[in-house]
Symmetry: C2
Subunit: 267 residues, 2 copies
């Protein structure tokens, strides 16, 4: 597997190389294109079965630093899926209605139903990341949230949801280049936000907060996967193969027809 399955106590984020490209020398390696195509074909095929069977629920959590590639992954890896059985849910700063409930309220509402794949573009993890680094919640509050989140995800798992949590891991240098590209490119300039620079200034605080999240919330039933994401082509391939592999293990099957179809005549 190209993604790194994070094992608390053994794995360390700081030791994982964001520029890793696994067995490939570069994007021109002919295996790269072939494997990406195959992984996406598998995803598309198995999603049809997932929808038909209407049993499994697949929740994919995507987290990353700014410019980490969440939108790119959603466009290139999730985009080919049939939107009738797949939703992307983006979590920005909570609105008034959301703030007047607990932080898991808006998240729980959007979990997948049977037969559905849901991708969280950011998630409840912001409530132990941004909330912590920017001091939006007191330490006693965000520390308790690790337990809430673990229990919430365990409940989802016990009741039939498969969770795959993905951290797109980029380096500080790579972020610099991407932010600069945003400033230069008229088609990307609108995405630039001064707040991104504030977040970037807290880079090491965020890395430490992510390390903590991975150590505390990667569990057998709700594992975290770290995807080296400095190289976009490697990132897309790693994510696509991770999701395709997860779907294969779910082994979704079309339901048996309820009628004896050999006796049905379409007139």
């Amino acid at each position: 597997m190209l993604a790194h399955r994070f094992v608390p106590g053994k794995s360390r984020l700081a030791r994982l190389d964001p520029a890793d490209t696994g067995p490939f020398s570069g994007r021109d390696d002919p295996r790269v294109k072939r494997r990406l195509e195959r992984a996406i074909e598998t995803m598309v095929e198995l999603q049809q079965r997932l929808v038909g069977e209407a049993r499994h629920r697949l929740l994919i959590v995507l987290q990353a630093m700014d410019t980490g590639g969440k939108d790119g992954v959603i466009r290139r890896v999730i985009g080919p899926l049939d939107s009738r059985g797949c939703r992307v849910e983006s979590f920005k700063a909570p609105n008034d209605d959301e703030r007047s409930r607990d932080y898991l309220w808006r998240v729980h509402q959007r979990v997948p139903k049977s037969g559905e794949i849901v991708v969280f573009n950011r998630s409840h993890y912001e409530d132990v990341l941004v909330a912590r680094v920017l001091g939006l919640a007191p330490p006693a509050a965000w520390k308790r949230r690790f337990e809430h989140i673990a229990a919430f995800e365990q409940m989802l798992h016990d009741e039939g949801t498969t969770l795959v949590k993905i951290f797109l891991h980029i380096s500080k240098d790579e972020q610099k280049e991407r932010l600069e590209a945003r400033l230069r490119d008229p088609a990307k300039r609108w995405k630039f936000d001064e707040a991104d620079l504030e977040m970037r200034a807290r880079w090491s605080d965020f890395q430490a907060a992510y390390e903590d999240v991975l150590q505390k919330t990667s569990r057998p039933d709700a594992p975290w996967f770290v995807v080296p994401a400095d190289r976009k082509w490697f990132r897309d391939l790693a994510v696509a193969e991770l999701i395709a592999g997860t779907m294969k293990r779910l082994d979704p099957r079309y339901p048996e027809p309820r009628l004896d179809l050999t006796r049905v005549r379409v007139r």
Copy 2:
């Protein structure tokens, strides 16, 4: 306090008398009417502050056997509250949409927001009561739910919700009389459901399941209160004083005006 705060390991449902009337000899005791009026006045008064302050969230869970008096309590004790800050949420058998998510999904959606009082008429506890007694979920599944529920309620508490869980405790004999009254009274006959008799036939299984619920899920931050409910007047008074007392402890206060109101002139 007239309601019994259930302490796991010390309290036992089977030892609590559904016909208990505390210090009162009967409904004609003049203190009964006076105390009920005072409790409801307190609730109404404090609710105005609760809405104005928009900080606290109060969740009242009501559980009982059929005919236990949930509807009566809602009408007489909750009814006087201002509906702008108070909702009653009833949970019947889940519909298709609800069944295709985890059992806490529909429950979490309806929790109170800041300044609000929400009463659950039945609740997620049905998923460890009916689901267990009628065998709708395998034992491994409903047993895990005790942990999910404890964690869910703890999260609500940690994030600012006050929980009061009330079991209206009636005797099997009292239920018999009430079901017979339903059959006789043309205004109540529509409420009669054959399924009630099936549930009644499992009376002792349900009592054992409730005992288990109380032992396993009554915790300091989400306590259960057992209210003797054979006497409707006592039940209403006990619930009203329990809720009024809880609201007093929240001590809601009107927010300070943001302007200097002495300088405001209404022309």
